[in-house]
């Protein structure tokens, strides 16, 4: 409660103080933009983690959020979801604060964020995506269960529906989380490293699913770490290292120059990135 209170106050007070004297402080965001972030700063303890983020994400695109470890990628997602207190700035989901557009946003957290030893089946976990439609007190009904089965089916997990979640492999657990997000039936999806440490089959099926979602005009903001696949997977990317280094269509933004700015002197990653850029150019 304390956290929520502080958060509201911060987001209310921020824009007036923050943008005084800044030219173009309030660009007109089109109300259709699924996610617009304006001048967002987040601080843990006393250290700012992300700083002055200004973004507007286009509708119906797969957007990659890319940056080194500790660049604040997950924090940015969490700030959009009001899970961490925001020091200043505002986030708009389809032109409204997140708390008013919650049902339009699906979230896929990192796999490590939960205890997989929990006594629940895969179906139980996926059904959680539909809890908000059920409302208070009502138990999971047949319809919710059937929808969950459909979502599981789309990710090729229907055989494992009644397995305890701890018995799934890492990739299957990740897919179960995606199925749960599908159950939410949102328009904007925020995904925290859905492709981290998954096997080939899972990666293929997740990417397939993402493309299918894009065709249905869903917008996905995906934290990604593998520079080699960036050009394959994303239409639009955001390069983040505490600040936004660059954001835009992949072809324009994914340049060696921008990557060096993002990753600094990290040579191994840089050379890998340069290779990737070259491959993409060919």
């Amino acid at each position: 409660m304390i956290r929520l209170f502080r958060l509201d106050r911060a987001s209310r007070a921020a824009p007036y103080q923050n943008d005084v004297g800044r030219p173009g402080a309030f660009p007109e965001h089109s109300p259709a933009s699924p996610l617009s972030i304006h001048d967002l700063t987040v601080a843990y303890h006393r250290q700012p983690v992300i700083w002055d983020v200004d973004l507007e994400i286009p509708e119906g695109k797969l957007v990659g959020l890319i940056g080194p470890n500790g660049a604040g990628k997950s924090t940015l997602l969490k700030a959009c979801l009001e899970l961490v207190p925001v020091a200043s700035g505002l986030v708009r989901v389809y032109g409204q604060p997140y708390s008013k557009r919650r049902e339009l946003v699906g979230y896929v957290p990192q796999k490590e964020s939960v205890d997989w030893d929990f006594p629940a089946s895969t179906l139980d976990v996926v059904a959680m995506g539909g809890y908000h439609r059920l409302g208070w007190f009502r138990p999971v009904n047949k319809r919710c269960r059937a929808e969950s089965m459909q979502a599981l089916d789309r990710l090729g997990l229907s055989d494992l529906a009644h397995q305890q979640i701890g018995q799934l492999s890492g990739g299957q657990q990740q897919r179960a989380f995606l199925a749960r997000a599908l159950m939410q039936n949102a328009k904007l999806y925020l995904m925290d490293e859905p492709l981290a440490a998954v096997d080939a089959a899972t990666e293929t099926s997740i990417v397939e699913l993402l493309r299918e979602m894009k065709q249905r005009q869903k917008t996905c903001l995906i934290v990604h770490h593998d520079l080699a696949t960036v050009t394959d997977y994303f239409d639009w990317i955001i390069l983040l290292n505490m600040r936004v280094v660059a954001a835009g269509p992949t072809q324009e933004v994914f340049t060696q120059e921008n990557l060096r700015k993002t990753y600094g002197g990290n040579l191994t990653i840089l050379s890998a990135a340069a290779d990737a850029v070259q491959n993409a150019g060919e």
Binding site: Q17, R46, G70
Partner: protein
């Protein structure tokens, strides 16, 4: 102003309390730093069956067997906790809860069964009897000197000296293994051995403090001064010194309060050990609010100062090279 009724007994009580609090606080610092505060809860409860068995077997209150029994019980708890945690795959906190209650229940059962043969009152287990320790004095001859002091004081002094020796000898190792156990292991200090040594000392201290403050209030003696000092400083040496000063202050003023309060209020008597814990809580509360850097108020202030729309600060915020180039 009412007159203070102070007797020699009071001096002995204060001395016992202060030594007890300091011995506990010293070792408690490392529990707080290693995030194992609740282990003190587990061990202090779990030494009860060790004590009870020793009493039943030896039918006396001889100090050495008592310590041996309690330390064995303490080690057994630590080992059991780790085993159930690993092999049973049960969450650590739950394992601690299960193990210590089982041990404590077994201890209670033994005490009840032994009945009159055991000079151990279940109520003493809960409150301690600091007021009575002053009466139970023994003679101790150290070379030419003959000292008459409360038994508990002597036992606690040994515990304090033992803890001081341990911390002095293993200061470096304790610091590194509290900060980063894995790093410590790679550097050749066995963090596991440090862990067990620490647990043994916690058990020894808990047993020594048992008569004085009972098995629950010893947690206050162990944890609260260390936690309070942790809010005051970032340096280990300072933290240890501060925690011991706080502990001594709480113990002394705790007894003072029990002498003074009945004169001011319509109260017959107040438990000294309970008062020590309550005062420690008060000191913690004040520190948590007003500590210079880590206090609640100070933290609020710095946050306000650092609000990014404070334009000067915003522009001067150091984007330090280390972070961007790492």
């Amino acid at each position: 102003m009412t007159e203070l009724t102070w007797q020699t007994g009071d001096t002995w009580i204060v001395a016992t309390g202060v030594v007890c609090a300091m011995a506990c606080a010293l070792i408690g610092n490392f529990l707080v730093l290693r995030r194992m505060s609740m282990m003190s809860d587990t061990i202090s409860h779990a030494v009860l069956p060790g004590l009870a068995i020793t009493f039943i077997v030896t039918e006396s209150r001889a100090v050495v067997p008592m310590f041996v029994g309690a330390v064995l019980a303490g080690i057994l708890t630590t080992v059991l906790t780790q085993w159930i945690n690993r092999f049973g795959q049960v969450e650590r906190g739950a394992v601690m809860g299960i193990v210590f209650t089982t041990f404590f229940a077994a201890g209670l059962l033994l005490i009840e069964q032994a009945g009159d043969r055991v000079d151990l009152d279940p109520k003493c287990v809960l409150f301690g009897a600091l007021e009575l320790t002053a009466l139970d004095r023994i003679n101790l001859s150290l070379g030419p000197y003959e000292i008459t002091a409360p038994r508990a004081l002597i036992v606690l002094s040994f515990a304090l000296i033992l803890n001081l020796l341990f911390v002095a000898v293993c200061y470096k190792e304790l610091r590194i293994s509290s900060f980063d156990p894995e790093l410590a292991t790679t550097l050749g200090f066995n963090a596991q051995i440090m862990h067990y040594l620490l647990m043994v000392l916690v058990a020894v201290t808990a047993v020594a403090a048992f008569e004085a403050v009972g098995s629950i209030l010893v947690i206050a003696m162990l944890i609260v001064p260390g936690a309070t000092a942790y809010l005051l400083t970032d340096r280990l040496g300072v933290m240890i010194a501060a925690s011991m000063a706080i502990a001594a202050f709480c113990a002394a003023s705790g007894h003072l309060a029990t002498v003074v309060l009945p004169q001011w209020l319509p109260i017959k008597s107040v438990s000294t050990s309970g008062m020590m814990a309550t005062l420690a809580g008060l000191v913690f509360l004040v520190t948590a609010l007003f500590a210079p850097r880590h206090g609640v108020i100070a933290r609020r202030r710095t946050k306000l100062k650092r609000k990014p729309w404070n334009s000067e600060r915003k522009n001067s915020f150091p984007f330090d090279e280390k972070r961007t180039c790492a």
